[in-house]
């Protein structure tokens, strides 16, 4: 059986960051990703990131992605693509399916960085060709260079909805409306301002009533919702659209944590069911770490910082870094995370991670990872 000191599952921003941190500490790292290309969601983020200038703010996601990849490759990390991890046994045997055959790798430590998946929203006609996740539209435009549609209704005004709406404009589509059932725009106001001044109407307290069309979306009807989320008859607005993109939240893709026996908590602010983890990013199964959206849905910048933490703590537990060295290495990343999570827009994530801390006894007894030499 193949052996690896640290197996990182997922080559997105969290996974690549974990791999880099662990490899820098001297660990032998294997990264496994089911996609044909590494980078996860990072290569779709063509906008400049927020945050502190000292930590890559102002850089476009795509460029950060290339730098991360170069760093990981430069550190001699093995990256296996087109390989889907389907099981974790005894907390250390990772079962993988590559095209035509299955193989296993014995890992000292595992970092799960499998990200999150888009939520759906059902309304009459939601299964019609033309209704898709906002991330799907983003993938088609920014990775495959194809417009998924010409006239788009964006559902959801969180950062994903607002940013993808802007990217749809950049790709040459028309954004007919942004619709949000909440009475306020959910994402950063500056993102809303960019699309508003480009002529995109934003309807708050509105939802999609139905999407109509023979074999695909041809017309979309939106209507106002009251304070009990019920549509108000008579408030319908018909929109000429061929595409509806749903940006209604993400949920951690934590199936592997589940099959590995990790304990979970349901924390809505983090996206739903999340694997319980400590500040060292370790789950309730010793030796299994999590980082990025799988541990709670946040921004890519948070994913990268969590990845660094998971990587260095896993490396420390594997004996590559003393606890003192790990604590010192972790400090700037913890500080960065605290900064990224500060302010009113970080309240949900902060609250979510705090809730996890406060309810830890519900889930486990062990709270400290064991350091190395």
């Amino acid at each position: 059986m193949k052996q690896a000191e640290i197996v990182v599952i997922g080559a997105g921003p969290a996974g690549l960051s974990a791999a880099a941190a662990a490899a820098q500490a001297g660990a032998q790292v294997l990264v496994i990703d089911e996609n044909a290309e590494p980078g996860g969601q990072l290569f779709k983020q063509i906008h400049k990131f927020f945050g502190a200038s000292e930590h890559r703010a102002g850089q476009r996601g795509v460029d950060i992605g290339h730098e991360l990849l170069e760093e990981v490759e430069g550190l001699g990390v093995e990256v296996v693509l087109d390989a889907s991890v389907w099981g974790i046994y005894d907390g250390s045997t990772v079962a993988v399916a590559s095209q035509e055959y299955s193989w296993r790798v014995k890992a000292d430590r595992i970092v799960l960085a499998t990200g999150a998946t888009e939520n759906g929203l059902s309304f009459r006609g939601w299964t019609l060709p033309g209704v898709m996740g906002a991330g799907c539209a983003q993938t088609m435009m920014n990775v495959h260079r194809v417009l998924p549609g010409q006239r788009v209704v964006m559902v959801g005004s969180g950062n994903v909805g607002l940013i993808v709406a802007y990217q749809l404009l950049q790709a040459g589509a028309e954004v007919v409306a942004v619709v949000d059932a909440l009475p306020r725009v959910g994402g950063y106001p500056v993102h809303a301002a960019k699309i508003a001044r480009a002529g995109v109407p934003i309807y708050t307290s509105y939802s999609v009533k139905e999407a109509d069309g023979d074999e695909c979306v041809e017309k979309v009807t939106i209507w106002r919702v009251d304070d009990r989320w019920q549509g108000v008859p008579g408030s319908e607005i018909e929109l000429d659209a061929d595409t509806v993109t749903l940006a209604v939240g993400l949920s951690p893709m934590a199936e592997l944590a589940w099959v590995a026996g990790c304990r979970f908590l349901h924390i809505p602010e983090l996206g739903g069911h999340v694997p319980v983890h400590s500040a060292y990013m370790e789950t309730t199964v010793p030796g299994i770490y999590v980082a990025g959206d799988v541990s709670g849905v946040e921004e890519a910048s948070c994913a990268m910082e969590e990845g660094r933490l998971a990587g260095l703590w896993a490396a420390s537990a594997a004996g590559r870094l003393s606890v003192a060295a790990a604590v010192a290495a972790a400090a700037p990343h913890e500080a960065s995370l605290a900064r990224l999570r500060s302010g009113p827009f970080g309240a949900a994530a902060r609250g979510g991670k705090l809730a996890m801390d406060g309810r830890r006894d519900e889930a486990w007894g062990q709270t400290l990872t064991r350091g190395g030499a």
């Binding site: 060709p129 799907c136 088609m140 260079r145 194809v146």
Partner: protein
């Protein structure tokens, strides 16, 4: 190709050079770029229905775009259930609209099940 293809993008720049190949959607030959997923080539050709559901024959196309939801499956070179959003095109590939779960028998000389 057509206006669905983004030839030049304000941030991504020019579309990278790729070899052009031909895939077949039913009896329609479609231009595609080597390495791109089947779904991208179909979107570029304006194809909106990828399959019909088993029970009610309802049309489906794409949802997640990253190989997780299986909304986009079609029959590719006689094999049903192929996720078109993550499967790259090949020159001469045959793609068909999938009816329900598709046909699982293969027409081969040996009468294999």
């Amino acid at each position: 190709m057509n206006e669905s293809r983004i030839e030049i993008h304000p941030i991504l720049g020019l579309r990278p050079e790729r070899r052009q190949v031909t895939i077949h959607f039913g009896d329609r030959p479609l231009p595609a770029y080597e390495g791109e997923p089947i779904a991208a080539a179909l979107l570029a050709a304006g194809i909106r229905v990828f399959r019909k559901t088993s029970k009610r024959g309802e049309p489906r196309q794409l949802f997640c775009g990253i190989g997780r939801c299986t909304d986009c499956v079609m029959i590719v070179d006689d094999l049903p259930g192929v996720r078109t959003c993550v499967t790259p095109v090949r020159d001469g590939m045959r793609v068909e609209e999938q009816d329900g779960r598709g046909r699982w028998e293969r027409e081969r000389g040996g009468g294999e099940p």
